[in-house]
Symmetry: C2
Subunit: 231 residues, 2 copies
């Protein structure tokens, strides 16, 4: 894209966790002609690896970012509470029936609400989130109906919405399998070697948590080698 | 209420700003038989007077509370930005046409999202917010349609909602005039002498900002003397 076009390009707020899905989403937004402004959340996850990965991704992609520190003074998720076992992966991850311990109450609605506030402030036309309902852990706030409903709430509750300047909530990966996301991200040039997915946050991915499990399965099904794995 | 009943009483998360509406809302939730757990937001308002008022109110009402510090790294509102004039009150406050400079993009959706996270974590059955669409400043996120839509989003996006344990979003003051709210609060025993409404935050209320204007008008119309005013 030529630089002289840049001025008229619309802005989009992209929620970036530093994993496969959100990095694919970032490159998807770029391909669609948006200037991405990323929001990275530091919400007392067990480790800072994903925040660091997200920052590196932004610098690599050449886009602006803000890191928001969110301090939830309550737990309610094994992702936030050291005392809870994080490796008890439900054997049949299906939403509605077996929501895993890593579910953080209200996480995506909090993230989206901040994104909405930011989007309205900077005049962005869209919000991108890499949520995914298939091949994932069964979080209720990763389902299409949640995003459809949030779109309506966002339009009702903002000055932009009331004035007819709808901020579009985009979850382009919502119905894709992990393998499809990986193929798409590769095609778009997303730097998967910089991404971090593991919930545990050791020197290298644990290979046992939900997130490692779905990542490995996705790369296997896509027939692509995970560039973040050494050796 | 006798103590032995307390164990079976349902919990409710109450958003408390320290003003007239939220304190009336707190006493309304108590009267409805809920055990209130208050959330107070410190979001870099121009002054801390309302946060202090909210904490005093909780202690007086004998209910639990948490203060959440929210750091929005963007402005977009005269309530957050010292450089913007706060006293330019639109002469005809009507929503959709004249949204005032004190509107904070996404504020109520951020507050409600935190409340939802907290409610789900502690097993609360309801969230109370003192939002009010009449006799107020025309914020889009104070209108009934916003709360109806948020209810749907909340039910879609939480484990509680998916499992059929709906967390009810209650905005009992939404269609009341300020005078009606003041009469209701007085009847319920809300300690208005402890509340703080002024946006400016001097030693005593400025009497000129939007919030002072509607407060004074409300007391006048209710035929009640404002107990927070000296003299």
């Amino acid at each position: 894209m030529r630089n002289k076009k840049k001025k008229s390009m619309p802005k989009a707020v992209v929620l970036l966790s530093g994993g496969l899905d959100s990095s694919t989403c970032l490159y998807f937004a770029k391909r669609k002609g948006f200037v991405p402004e990323c929001l990275i959340f530091d919400y007392n996850q067990r480790h800072k690896k994903e925040v660091e990965a997200a920052k590196r991704l932004c610098r690599y992609a050449g886009c602006g970012f803000k890191v928001l520190r969110i301090n939830l003074p309550w737990k309610g998720s094994s992702l936030l509470d050291e005392r809870t076992g994080i490796l008890k992966r439900p054997k049949t991850p299906t939403y509605g029936s077996a929501i895993p311990s890593t579910y953080v109450p209200g996480r995506n609605i909090i993230f989206l609400s901040y994104a909405l506030s930011y989007a309205e402030t900077i005049g962005a036309e869209a919000i991108f989130i890499g949520a995914n309902a298939i091949d994932y852990s069964g979080y209720p706030d990763c389902r299409p109906e949640f995003y459809r409903s949030f779109q309506e709430t966002a339009s009702c509750g903002t000055k932009a919405g009331v004035e007819g300047k709808k901020i579009k909530i985009c979850a382009p990966l919502i119905k894709k399998t992990k393998a499809q996301i990986i193929r798409l991200g590769k095609k778009l040039g997303a730097p998967f070697q910089m991404t971090w997915s593991c919930y545990v946050g050791g020197k290298s991915p644990c290979g046992k948590c939900d997130s490692c499990y779905f990542r490995a399965k996705g790369f296997r099904q896509a027939g692509i080698k995970d560039p973040a794995l050494k050796g």
